[in-house]
Every structure is written in C-alpha cells, then in structure tokens.
Symmetry: C2
Subunit: 189 residues, 2 copies
C-alpha cells in the first residue's frame, strides 16, 4: 500500500539491527486517520471471507484492530498477555516467544467469547517471525473456530514469519513488507 510505504519512508527511523521504528504514527503515538485508511484496505481484501470476529494481541495491535472491527461491523477480541482478574472461565492459552521483550509470554483468551461458529480475521500492526500469529492460530484451533485470514500493517519480510504462514495456505495480507533496511534506505517487497 503506497500510502503506508511512503509514511514509513518519511517518518520511520532506521535503527541498528535492522529495526524500523514507527512509534510516531503506529505503535505508541497513533495516527487514527491512517488506521482508518488501512482498515478500509483490509475490508476490501477480506470482505468475501465474512469474518465474524477480529482478533489481535495486546497492546499495540489493538488500535488498528479496533478500527477494523468497526469497518467489518463485528466485535474485537484481544488476547491478553497475563492473567488478570477480569477474565476467567475456560481459558484458551498459548505460549509464544516475544522478541520485543525478549521473554516467553502466555497469550490468554476467555473461551466464552470464541466459539466453533466464529470466522476469525487476525489483525496486527507488526509481524516479524510470526510468533504472535502462531499463538493466536493455536488458540483459534482450540476453540474449533476458523481462521479466515491475517492482516498485517507492516511485515518484516526478511524475518520469514509471513512467508511461513503463506506456505501453510493462510491468506496473510501485509500492507507494507520491508525486505531490507540498509543505511538510510528501506526496500519494500
């Protein structure tokens, strides 16, 4: 998606270790008008999949997933990363490695809000190795629900997560795929 690629080039900061920071508009300070444009693009791509539920993982995927849920007119369900007093009963869980925080994290969803009738579209802001996606995929399978697609704002193509999911036959649609960041420049797939 041209608009997102241009925004990444204009405002993304290239850091050592092939890291591209977009905390000024996507995952810390958030440009909600941009999210609306991204959500419309996901709607155009996934509308025939007729999702009944948008899922994401807390925290930085939530703004985009919220706007997407409104576009599709379905509820949002976000997996928690720690047990709180606010969810309970028939918990669905999956352990993943979080490279952002460099530790193992347990994803938790209440079984009450995810059923075999659900057609789930996963939305997230970022994908690198695809750990969070694999965690959600397991949780969706535990509930007997159907995963109808994965929509990602920015995929780090060189970390292989998206290609692994596509090889599994999943409709994984990323709006910007960074193939390489080198010195001052970013190359998109």
């Amino acid at each position: 998606m041209k608009m997102l690629e241009e925004r990444i080039r204009a405002e993304g900061k290239l850091m050592p270790g092939n890291i591209v920071k977009v905390d000024g508009f996507l995952n810390h300070r958030v440009d909600v008008a941009l999210l609306r444009a991204l959500a419309r693009e996901f709607k155009a791509h996934f509308k025939d999949r007729r999702p009944t539920l948008i899922m994401t993982v807390e925290a930085s995927g939530i703004p985009l997933a919220t706007v997407c849920a409104e576009e599709f007119g379905v509820p949002l369900l976000f997996a928690k990363k720690a047990k709180s007093d606010n969810i309970e009963g028939g918990l669905l869980t999956s352990e993943i490695m979080s490279y952002t925080y460099n530790k193992k994290v347990k994803l938790i969803v209440s079984g009450e809000w995810l059923s075999a009738k659900d057609r789930v579209l996963i939305i997230d802001d970022f994908m690198a190795r695809g750990e969070a996606m694999r965690g959600l995929k397991k949780i969706i399978a535990q509930a007997g629900a159907e995963l109808v697609g994965i929509g990602i704002a920015i995929e780090k193509g060189y970390q292989g997560g998206g290609d692994g999911l596509r090889a599994d036959g999943i409709d994984c649609y990323s709006l910007a795929i960074i193939e390489e960041s080198c010195g001052e420049s970013i190359r998109f797939r």
Copy 2:
C-alpha cells in the same frame, strides 16, 4: 449514560468482592459500535476543551481511546507498562500500583510525543482507585503539558478514585458510576 448503564445491568457479571465483569463488551471482547456511542458522548462533553492529544494506558483502555481520538481528530498516545525496543529517548515514567495484577507497574511514554504545547484528554475504560490516572497525570506534568480532562467509561464510585480527582479540580467525566453492587443488583450514582 443510560445506554451504558443498561448494558452493564444486562451483561455485566457480579463477582465476589464487589467486582463487576464487563469482559463481553468492554475490556476483552469489545463492542466497537458501543464504543463509538461512548466516544460521541465524550466529544459532546469535552469539545470546548480542545484537546490536541488523547492519552490512555495499555491495554484495555486502547479500544475506547482509539475511537475517541478519531472523534476528536487528534492522535492517540498510549503509555506502555514495560520498556520495549520500540520506544526510546527522553522517557517519561511514573510508577503506579496495579490492583488488577496486584503489583507495581511502571508507565512509560516517549518524551518525543508529548510536549508543553499539548492539551491532553485522558480516556480509560475503567477507574477504581485512580492509580493509572495519577500516573498519567504525573507524566503529563513532567512534559509540561496540560491535562484538560479525564473521560472514563465505568467508574467504581465506592473506590474513591474519581472523587479524589474531582476534588483536585479535574473535569473527570464518567459515563456510568457504580455506587454499589450487592447480590444481583447494581446501583448507579
């Protein structure tokens, strides 16, 4: 707000220890159409305050704060609860007690996205003792920004957080204030 009170009565689950669970529509599975109605109510109340930024704390405040940011046409900035690789530089921090997780938590905001020119409206899904609000208030003060109001979906009136903020002269507007939950019934202020 009548609509929210009715939804809490219809779908909220009363738990031991005066806990009202609303994880089916507010803070785990999220009814985004409801959030849009709540955000419009906040817009009507706070529009003369002319906020330049909506702030909240990850994670469960983010959906409502996202929709509010879109209503006001300003960016969203959410405080993180742990240091990630994705924010840096001039961090503003504040330590609070999280009663949801029963531990101390550090709120973190990048100083890059909050300045003395900002007029900040805080939005959150829940308020009990008001710890998160006090943490954000400190961070806003560190940046020299102005706190123009606090909008809360559900306040637990009997835990005193909102009244403390109002006593400090803050325009703290809660859409439903639970005064008491007892047996099968909830009494709103």
